[in-house]
């Protein structure tokens, strides 16, 4: 299997507080990797490391190597914008731009100079189809993105993320604000998207991790305790801390 994200000896501090401790992990292309663990274990911090979102926090100090598609994204001279083009992100709460559905998709590719004006329509259609939203919005492309339901807004955000053709899509609890029906649609979509993208998702919902992830990483107090195929993690975890967490004995 081909690596898409490789992390070597990663340590991260918020000021004096070490949030990630010597993390080593390889995540694979066209797979869904779920990051699980109790609140404050470092999983969201780790997710943000992968597209350098932590750069926005002054007190953060990072050591170690993070390679995306074999390129060290923390090496000197690396353009953060190009990193974020390669590594898209979908957040917990749907956050469409206060623009039309069409503009939500077309904006980033236009800014990156990826498409001509003529090609925009095709790109928007492709991205919305890819996110399973096209049939629901094809007649209202110029309505505000915020007029959609929560689940549709989240799929719009996924369409926006895939419009720039990233290698990796990061998802930070992408369904925690959604009802069960919308959640199932997003999960089904994730299973489709992994054919073309690699997905790394943070979730507090262990059933979600077990349902959709190929690999699962369990974090606790800044340590990567266990990382394995999801089936192994949920059926035969090797570490007691993992077993205790997934069986609800702590966390």
């Amino acid at each position: 299997m081909e690596n898409i994200v490789s992390v070597e000896n990663l340590n991260l501090w918020y000021g004096d507080n070490q949030a990630l401790k010597n993390i080593n992990i390889n995540m694979y292309k066209h797979k869904i990797t779920a990051l699980i663990g109790p609140s404050g274990c470092g999983k969201s911090t780790f997710l943000r490391v992968i597209n350098r979102m932590n750069d926005l926090i002054d007190s953060v100090h990072i050591e170690g190597k993070v390679k995306v598609d074999n390129e060290d994204i923390y090496a000197k001279g690396v353009d953060v914008v190009s990193v974020r083009k390669k590594v898209g992100m979908v957040f917990q709460k749907p956050n469409p731009f206060p623009k039309s559905i069409f503009e939500n998709i077309a904006y980033a590719p236009r800014v990156h100079g990826m498409v001509s004006k003529k090609e925009e329509e095709d790109l928007v259609e492709r991205a919305l189809k890819g996110a399973g939203l096209w049939d629901e919005v094809k007649d209202s492309l110029h309505e505000p993105g915020t007029s959609l339901s929560g689940g549709q807004q989240q799929r719009l955000c996924i369409a926006r993320a895939i419009a720039v053709k990233p290698e990796v899509i990061l998802m930070d609890e992408p369904t925690s604000a959604l009802d069960p029906i919308s959640t199932e649609k997003i999960e089904a979509l994730m299973l489709e998207l992994k054919k073309n993208y690699s997905i790394i998702t943070v979730t507090h919902n262990m059933q979600q991790a077990s349902r959709i992830a190929d690999y699962t990483a369990f974090f606790h107090l800044g340590d990567l305790v266990e990382y394995d195929e999801t089936e192994s993690i949920f059926l035969n975890p090797k570490e007691k801390r993992t077993e205790d967490y997934i069986t609800g004995r702590f966390g």
Binding site: E184, A188, L191, Q207, S210, R211, I212, E231, F234, L235
Partner: protein, 221 residues
């Protein structure tokens, strides 16, 4: 339903149907062999039937994984629990068929039975085949009414099998003679024929579990 969950369920159902099909194939083969007095076929059944054990382990392990990964509820949960028990019923049916085949090859070849008894054994075998054919239809059916009809047809076959066994038992006992070797063989042949009768009981066990999966209630078999 998520695609990966659907795939697991399809995998489980396909392997379950393969298990039933192997039992049916062995039974149908023995039926023809009995009719044509080609008793060598009985010896080849064991190899065919062996696959059932491997499939049972495969199905059971897939169910455990599916329970761990997808946390099914209600009908989905009942279905997986039922199938976990069905594999056990099918393993027992396999043992019954295998033991019948191994023992009866010898007794048929020795000409231990008269024509009337052989005809009743053929009818008993036909009952076990009919009951398992209905099991296949039940596994494939999502229609509760259809399943209920099939379930009742399996109960009818079980009743028939019970009656036929009693008739065979009376016929065989009536022919027990002073020759102790023949008498011992005849008594032992009844044990073997009883195994064939038990195959229909296993079909009822499977049918009970399918009804539990489809309509709910409590596991009773």
């Amino acid at each position: 339903m998520l695609k990966n969950y659907r795939r697991k369920l399809d995998d489980i159902e396909n392997n379950l149907l393969r298990m039933v099909d192997i039992i049916l194939t062995a039974n149908s083969g023995m039926l023809n062999a009995t009719k044509e007095k080609d008793y060598d076929f009985f010896g080849s059944c064991e190899k065919q039937l062996k696959v059932i054990e491997d499939l049972a382990f495969k199905v059971d392990n897939t169910i455990v994984t599916t329970l761990a990964l997808f946390s099914p509820e209600a009908k989905d949960l009942r279905e997986l629990v039922a199938i976990l028990k069905i594999t056990n019923e099918l393993s027992r049916a396999r043992s019954n068929v295998k033991n019948y085949a191994l023992d009866m090859k010898k007794y048929f070849a020795e000409g231990l039975f008269d024509e009337r008894t052989i005809n009743n054994i053929i009818l008993l075998q036909e009952s076990s085949i009919k009951s398992f054919r209905a099991v296949v239809e039940m596994i494939k059916s999502d229609d509760e009414n259809e399943s209920e009809k099939l379930y009742n047809s399996i109960l009818v076959e079980e009743d028939k099998a019970d009656e036929l066994y009693l008739m065979i038992e009376q016929e065989v006992l009536a022919t027990v003679c002073d020759n102790s070797k023949i008498s011992v063989d005849k008594m032992n042949s009844l044990k073997a024929i009883r195994k064939l009768e038990k195959v229909t009981d296993r079909a009822v066990g499977v049918a009970d579990l399918i009804m539990f999966a489809q309509t709910g209630g409590e596991i009773t078999h």
